[in-house]
Subunit: 433 residues, 2 copies
């Protein structure tokens, strides 16, 4: 390949904050595909500084690039782009802020930071005329963030649904395929490195909640406070739920849902969700992620791909770095508009959907009639039912309701818990279509 | 909604060239979602001129905006963004060139023009420091073009496969579902407005060929001469092929394939293709389009959505207009790097895949052995076979081969046509996985 004949420019300096899985993935991609990347951005680039926290770990980069003084990366006059891949709020947040105040463009994969402080960082970058890119924060290598901010941004987003966490999708897929319980599959996922030793962030839905808050804020160009996003993890999903869902024609996935409600309000929620087997999201298995979106003009669009992993996430980071490089080279950085105002979030009680309810009851005359009456009294009408006899005079019963309000189903369940023939309300899961 | 307090700016002037289905779709979206669009771009905009060719047609826009003097749109000093939605090479091509030379940014949906003259227009825009956006040219409302140019651009694209034409996908879906012949479904599609009175561009694969050439040129950042893209339409696909494909576990789709070959060459081809029923593209039905891509780092990603229609295509055009507006507003236009050099295209003979071959033969002893020997002599080994007796001593036989070279299968078929027991080589279709 011959060198481009254009005018000579200095190489663009890149500083990495963090050099774990994702940082190494991006670093390797920049090295492996260097020639094509330089050709596509029209300019040379160079990683000039890498901030690490543990000096003792062996690293694949030249030792002269490494420093444990993280501020050095942000302050280095050769660094034009700071790439933050350490995660967590502190010190990542203060370092990114310092980078922006120093006039550095920033690329980050930090979903927690963006979910909690994204609006102020985005607005700081806009004020400074700098790029703040974060394609890798949601959906790994799948282009989601920029399509939402750009190509789809003329749409009024009516609804979005996403499978945003690879670990829980792997767990739920294995539970569905193998008829296994969560604990069993979780232990396997931990052995395979798909789940952390402390799986809280994934299994309890925090990771998906962060990502959904980020997507919602971009779709509506407003700040979406993460605590306004309802969150329920997958610990309550059992093998029995999977089996009944299968019989009824559904798969169970951890889904993030955002809906536009009347009065410019939105309802955002993350929870285990029944999806009809022919729903496009129902077929997104293993560690794959996906976002399905319905816009008022574009109709339905869907994006699928690997939601995690060093290489896929590295791909998104390198795409962002290339964009910033092009902007630096051609003089067009900072073309993101600030988020304006705070989105009005509706409470989970206003959710209107179908529900899957699994109960263990005393298997005696009138039991079914009694339960059906409670549902009816709370304005919940039933669409399907499955029942199995258990041992010791008990029965297991699953209801699929027609669409009703979350507040109605909660009322029904409260009443149910006070009926002596109901031994246990085992599961209540939402259904989407 | 309160007006943004920022500094006052003049509204950005937009000129439309063409006001047919797509132009009206974009115009309506700009009107319907005006408040949110202004908020998201941070600036007012206004459609100030609309060039039309037929002054007699009734139009939904104010008559004072309309002109049949198309150059007026391109020359109007109030117009900062020219949106070309007339299609065809002439006068669209010269008008876009004139717009760029006049210092206007351009948004276009013109796949034929981009496939045939894209490189020179992209390079002219880059030289002028102007935006040339064309998200609507491929895949309707699905974000494909910009993700390829930006978020995925660090990847070496190993393979891409796309269902890029909605009309043929509608036809093939109906053929598969209803056991109907092409002519019958085509007539229905024409009645429904899904197919043109002259369906050549869709049915013979030109439309998909143009789109594939555009995608390939962006994936490799090189000019891809459209005539180097192999093209075979769907006229040769019959009800019988559909039925046999179904029995063997496949669907038939018109697929555009781009593969990277050794020596920095690529092989690009559009043809009816058998896809296993569990392949993600096999489930993309009706007028939906999709692009599946495998990159060296990102792994497999897929995008799906409506590939045509006023509203979906309008969505892509408005997304592009908003991007240009942001660039104008924030001073960052023209950030696309020119295409450098011409891609080396390999001939179809170098395709290496599996094949589906349907023959009518004389149903007599040794017939099968004779045919199998011909395949074997040409280095084609067989993976599956189905046979049905026909009337008048004839038999219908379908082979699914193992992977082999296109040149080998063509050699085998040539030999086959000279064997007297072979009455007819009915179909030869490629298989992808």
């Amino acid at each position: 390949m011959t060198a481009s004949p254009g005018p000579r420019h200095e190489a663009i300096g890149i500083g990495l904050l963090g050099f774990g899985t994702v940082g190494v993935g991006a670093y390797r991609m920049l090295a492996d595909n260097r020639d094509a990347i330089v050709r596509k951005i029209g300019r040379e680039f160079e990683v000039v500084r890498i901030g690490i926290r543990d000096a003792a770990k062996p690293r694949i980069a030249d030792a002269s690039l490494l420093t444990t003084e993280l501020e050095q990366v942000v302050d280095d006059p050769r660094v034009s782009i700071v790439v933050e891949v350490m995660g967590g709020l502190d010190p990542a947040g203060p370092l990114i802020e310092r980078a922006l105040r120093n006039g550095r463009h920033v690329v980050t994969a930090n979903k927690e930071l963006l979910a909690k402080h994204g609006a102020s960082l985005i607005n700081l970058a806009a004020k400074q005329g700098l790029d703040l890119h974060f394609e890798a924060a949601v959906g790994g290598g799948i282009p989601l963030i920029q399509p939402l901010r750009h190509q789809l941004s003329g749409n009024d987003v009516l609804k979005m649904m996403g499978i945003l966490n690879g670990t829980t999708n792997f767990i739920l897929t294995k539970m569905a395929e193998g008829g296994r319980e969560l604990e069993d599959v979780l232990a396997e996922a931990q052995r395979l490195g798909y789940a952390e030793a402390d799986p809280t962030s994934d299994v309890d839905g925090y990771d998906a909640q962060y990502k959904l808050a980020i997507l919602a804020s971009l779709a509506y160009a407003k700040e979406v406070p993460v605590e306004g996003v309802f969150r329920e993890g997958i610990r309550g999903v059992s093998k029995r739920d999977m089996q009944f869902a299968d019989v009824l024609g559904y798969r169970i996935k951890l889904v993030g849902v955002v809906e536009a409600l009347p009065g410019e309000r939105i309802l955002a929620r993350v929870h285990p969700t029944l999806l009809k087997k022919d729903h496009p999201l129902a077929r997104v298995d293993d560690v794959y992620n996906a976002l399905w979106l319905r816009g008022d003009f574009v109709g339905d669009v869907m994006f699928t791909g690997r939601g995690a992993g060093a290489e896929a996430t590295g791909s998104a980071i390198v795409g962002d770095i290339m964009d910033v490089c092009r902007n630096i080279h051609l003089g067009g950085a900072g073309n993101s508009v600030p988020l304006e105002g705070v989105a009005q979030l509706a409470p989970i009680a206003e959710t209107k959907t179908r529900y899957f309810v699994r109960l263990v009851i005393q298997d005696r005359p009138k039991a079914l009639g009694c339960i059906a009456t409670v549902f009816g009294n709370c304005n919940v009408s039933l669409a399907a039912m499955e029942m199995r006899g258990l041992e010791r005079g008990l029965g297991e019963i699953v209801f699929l309701t027609h669409e009703c309000l979350e507040s109605s189903i909660q009322l029904a369940l409260k009443a149910m818990r006070n009926i002596h023939i109901v031994e246990n309300v085992c599961s209540v899961l939402r259904v989407e279509h």
